[in-house]
């Protein structure tokens, strides 16, 4: 879907981006991760030509973007920035309809779409369409920012630290929301972030940047479990193995083997625990499951499907064993 080949950007004597190449498949979220000044935002902005590349090619759907007129290109790509940049003189509806209006869409069609998009981002159209940006909270503004970027149904979305300015609690919520929206609209998304947890949560693939170059490109699990250099290992953090928990679901470690009865970790009050085993769903992420098990002093949980039918056990030992599967033990 997006193919980037040998992309370079020089600002005077400074090389901001050096020989960057990677591909993103249709419908994937690719996170460009890295510390400040590593070239990730410059790379992003070269895709919709807010910044002109010094050399290299960018293809979207096989088409070299340098052949397209810069304004046409920008209108065909959704763009979301950290500061949102909603136009304060326009209502929510007018903000969402900016690109459709620029493209000369029929007004009634675009206004109808604005209402639908508000529902997609979980805001009540009746309540919000006629509001102005100054009347919205930061989280609401960024939802509108996402809706605005989706308005003309672009196949590609570029997001520059979109949730960076939102408080941690609402950030989790809006990240989950965005994953849900992404499943619904199936866009190809390039997402700049400096937050490893965000990358692990959002990404189908990650490009880790350092000094203008891609240090490693792969799945979140590749970077966490099999970093290819000391920089990657350090950047992903000393707890990178633990971060793999986020990527795993209860279903990944489901076991049919029944635990030995009443086997409790020392210190638990076996009387209560025996009657109240933790019950999890197959989709629950293992970070939460493990945390709850540790909190309860239990070493296994029951797993029920959505209809409440028992389907297996989740053992603490299996979780720990799963964590260290397929890891590169030492780096250089």
């Amino acid at each position: 879907m997006i193919q980037i080949e040998n992309l370079n950007k020089q600002f005077g004597a400074v090389t901001a981006v050096e020989d960057v190449s990677f591909n993103v498949e249709e419908g994937q979220i690719c996170v460009l991760l890295g510390p400040s000044g590593c070239g990730k935002t410059t790379t992003l902005k070269m895709i919709n030509r807010l910044i002109t590349p010094t050399s290299g090619t960018i293809r979207i759907n096989g088409r070299d973007t340098s052949e397209l007129d810069s304004v046409t290109l920008k209108r065909s790509i959704g763009y979301v920035i950290q500061q949102v940049g909603l136009f304060p003189n326009m209502t929510v509806e007018e903000n969402i309809c900016v690109v459709p209006d620029l493209l000369g869409w029929d007004k009634s069609k675009s206004r109808k779409r604005a209402g639908e998009l508000l529902e997609v981002v979980a805001l009540d159209p009746a309540k919000f369409l006629k509001r102005y940006p100054c009347e919205l909270s930061g989280g609401q503004q960024q939802r509108i920012g996402v809706a605005r970027a989706l308005a003309a149904d672009p196949p590609v979305m570029l997001m520059d630290e979109p949730f960076g300015a939102i408080d941690p609690i609402n950030r989790e919520v809006i990240q989950d929301e965005f994953r849900r929206i992404q499943r619904l609209v199936n866009k190809t998304v390039l997402f700049v972030s400096h937050d490893i947890d965000e990358a692990v949560k959002m990404a189908d693939c990650v490009a880790l940047f350092h000094n203008g170059k891609i240090q490693q490109f792969g799945s979140s699990d590749d970077l966490l479990a099999r970093p290819n250099s000391e920089f990657v290992a350090n950047f992903m953090g000393g707890d990178r193995i633990m971060k793999r928990l986020r990527l795993l679901r209860a279903a990944d470690v489901l076991s049919k083997i029944a635990p030995r009865q009443h086997m409790q970790i020392v210190g638990s009050s076996s009387g209560i625990a025996a009657h109240s085993h933790l019950i999890v769903k197959p989709g629950d992420d293992l970070r939460q499951v493990l945390s709850q098990l540790l909190g309860r002093g239990q070493d296994w949980a029951l797993c029920n499907d959505c209809d409440g039918r028992f389907i297996g056990y989740v053992h603490q030992a299996d979780i720990l064993a799963r964590l260290v599967q397929n890891i590169t033990p030492a780096v250089h």
Binding site: I81, G85, N89, T91
Partner: protein
Amino acid sequence: METLRFIQENGGLISLLLGQHLLIVAIAVGLAILTGVSVGVAISQHPRTRRWVLAFAAVLMTIPSAALFGLMIPVLSQIGYGIGVVPAVIALFLYAQLPIIRNTTTAISNIDPALREAAIGMGMSTGQRLRKVELPVAVPLIMAGVRMATVINIGIAAIAAYIGAGGLGSLIIRGIAQSDTRQLLAGAIVISVIAIAADYALYGLQRLLTPNGLNKNKLATGRMKEVTT
């Protein structure tokens, strides 16, 4: 009291002069909005040019009005307009530049860079960006400049009576020449009153032109009304 009686008895003359006065100011400020806003926008992205243009406009502002009117007589008499309305309008037009250019360029260059980035990133051309986003957002500050220019011009236009442009300044000049305090005061009072009135009227216009989304108080009261009705 005598002054008030004078104003009452000469209502016709005063309203004629008032009309002349406002017409000169309106033409001058009207033209100055066109040029001042354009120049202000044009220089807002070029800090060096902006410094020079603002310095030049500030110099214009420091020329005493009597001197400027005097200077224009020999220049404009080349084309037969040495005295009268034309030099008056030109002088007032020049005086109106600084407040309008300065406020416009300040407003445009202080616009949140995120708005500009979003607008460009969404594929707006420069013209669309100005028309749809930057100028509407800049309206309150631009209008504040226009109000300042108007009030200054209403005062300076009184001097234009010396070069035969008419207006309420004529009353003041005659008052001085004839040692007639009534006429002098009548001219001065009416000028002050219309300066204040024009400022208020333009403030109303400013509020009218300011996009709703930029005025939190107005929005809050508007929403209250929606709830109560």
